[in-house]
């Protein structure tokens, strides 16, 4: 099952999910200048980031909006980026957050689990209900695909709907329970389900509560660094170090901006940032600093 493959890679390489939310403005000027076509530059930038982080990234998350914004040309870059990661043997999450009724959801499932935009996991928005997730399940049943459904996000507006209280339970808790329940049929040998949940990193009390409640749900934890939440908060989601993947996008892609004169080494700066996050999480999980090179060793 795909969740076992992800779990195994995270065991080896650590839980950092490299977010390829690549905006053109993120590309170093000197790099951009070398290309006549923006889409070529964008793809090549991604390729270099992937190559430089492949041995230390648990997986990749590609945010489709950044490519959609460039129209059909951008979506060619999206397609080729997914393809590159998968052909290398990596795992890629299509961050699409689609959500629609059955007939339409079938089309989205076809779009993102087969053909041009095929990826290993997709993120989904459950607002329309669990039947909006159903059309994806035949792909999950095949063992080859997985899902991360939005449960609780860490943006300010999350309170508008996700925090509505119903008899002492919050909407996101009710949603989380449903996702965890739905996922029970798809639990792999690693103990986690191919139906995971997206949970933002915020307060530690909440993180502990969510982790306890959604025992077999693997987490995609976005916005590390950018959206608040410390390594200690995130560690609570991770159980023994492998209960989810922690995504950083801008922090990794723009790491070169924090170091004067390293524009041409942008991919090495990205690599260093991944290592830094991995080390930070390792420490929060109680591991020893700089003692080991691989996550396997960290959590041993």
């Amino acid at each position: 099952m795909i969740i076992d493959k992800l779990h195994e890679i995270v065991d080896k390489k650590g839980p950092v999910c490299v977010g390829l939310d690549t905006a053109i403005e993120y590309l170093p000027e000197s790099f951009l200048k070398k290309y006549n076509y923006i889409d070529h530059a964008l793809y090549r930038f991604n390729e270099r980031i992937i190559d430089a982080t492949f041995d230390i990234a648990g997986c990749y998350k590609v945010q489709i909006a950044y490519y959609e914004a460039l129209g059909t040309l951008g979506l060619e870059v999206y397609k080729n980026t997914l393809k590159y990661i998968r052909e290398k043997g990596g795992i890629v999450i299509g961050d699409i957050k689609r959500g629609d009724i059955a007939a339409t959801a079938s089309m989205y499932a076809k779009a993102h689990f087969t053909g041009d935009f095929e990826c290993d996991f997709v993120t989904l928005n459950p607002y329309m209900g669990l039947d909006s997730i159903e059309p994806y399940l035949k792909y999950v049943e095949s063992g080859e695909k997985g899902i991360f459904a939005l449960v609780r996000t860490s943006n300010k507006g999350a309170k508008d709907i996700q925090y509505i209280d119903s008899n002492g339970e919050k909407v996101y808790e009710i949603v989380g329970d449903k996702i965890n329940q739905l996922g029970k049929k798809y639990v792999g040998s690693c103990g986690y389900s191919a139906i995971g949940g997206v949970v933002g990193c915020t307060h530690r009390d909440e993180a502990m509560e969510i982790r306890k409640r959604l025992g077999s749900t693997y987490f995609l934890i976005p916005g590390y660094g950018a959206q608040g939440g410390t390594a200690e908060d995130v560690a609570l989601y991770m159980k023994n170090g492998n209960g989810g993947v922690v995504n950083s996008s801008r922090g990794i892609l723009l790491a070169y901006k924090n170091q004067e004169g390293r524009e041409n080494d942008f991919e090495l700066c990205a690599r260093e940032e991944v290592l830094r996050i991995r080390e930070e999480l390792n420490k929060a999980l109680g591991g020893k600093e700089n003692e080991h090179k691989l996550w396997t060793a960290y959590s041993a």
Copy 2:
């Protein structure tokens, strides 16, 4: 403002929104055979439907999932379909149901309000909160663009989240109030806001309650015919005949299947179905049957 333009067209042509959720399997075999490339056939099919319904359609809704399912080639058809409608002077809703946090939402707004995929209105999913809608507002403020946010859908799974009860109020009611409130800043001279709501057609008690509650919210009412709800139920959303648009997709695109030997006239069958729906709504609104050709006359 775009909402005034839509309102005016609906006054003239009626409230039927033609849904171009065009799956390849919907194309008559004899038609499909004429083309060497599926994308050419798909686009030409849409073009003929648009031409045959243009004088009697309030607007068009194009469901992007059906095009995404065909990868980048499909998205070329999506792009060209939007372009064709807009160049003819029609209004098109991109049914994308996107929903994401600020930086990403900005990218989606750019993707669907400018460039290749530019349309007049988009549908949005508010689960992540109102700040996920904010990046679209600068386009709304320009007067040229509008939004339909999901409020209450009519699929079975809608109960999973939208019907969660919070102190006697349902989640969809709370969401509806927030959308209506947010929209107050963008009310046009027609009395409705450029921030509309998607509400499925189901029970009449609910429809009345929603219409009363969301006074300045224009509705996109999807799934007419397919997802239940009678003309009488829909009429309650419409106030005096112009408080929303009523979408039908398969019912219109596949109308030719109900009539033996009319495969080659698929666009005329579509036209007849639009007229039939318009007449059905007209009657439900208390108008006289077959008395007038245009909606203007109907509601006079």
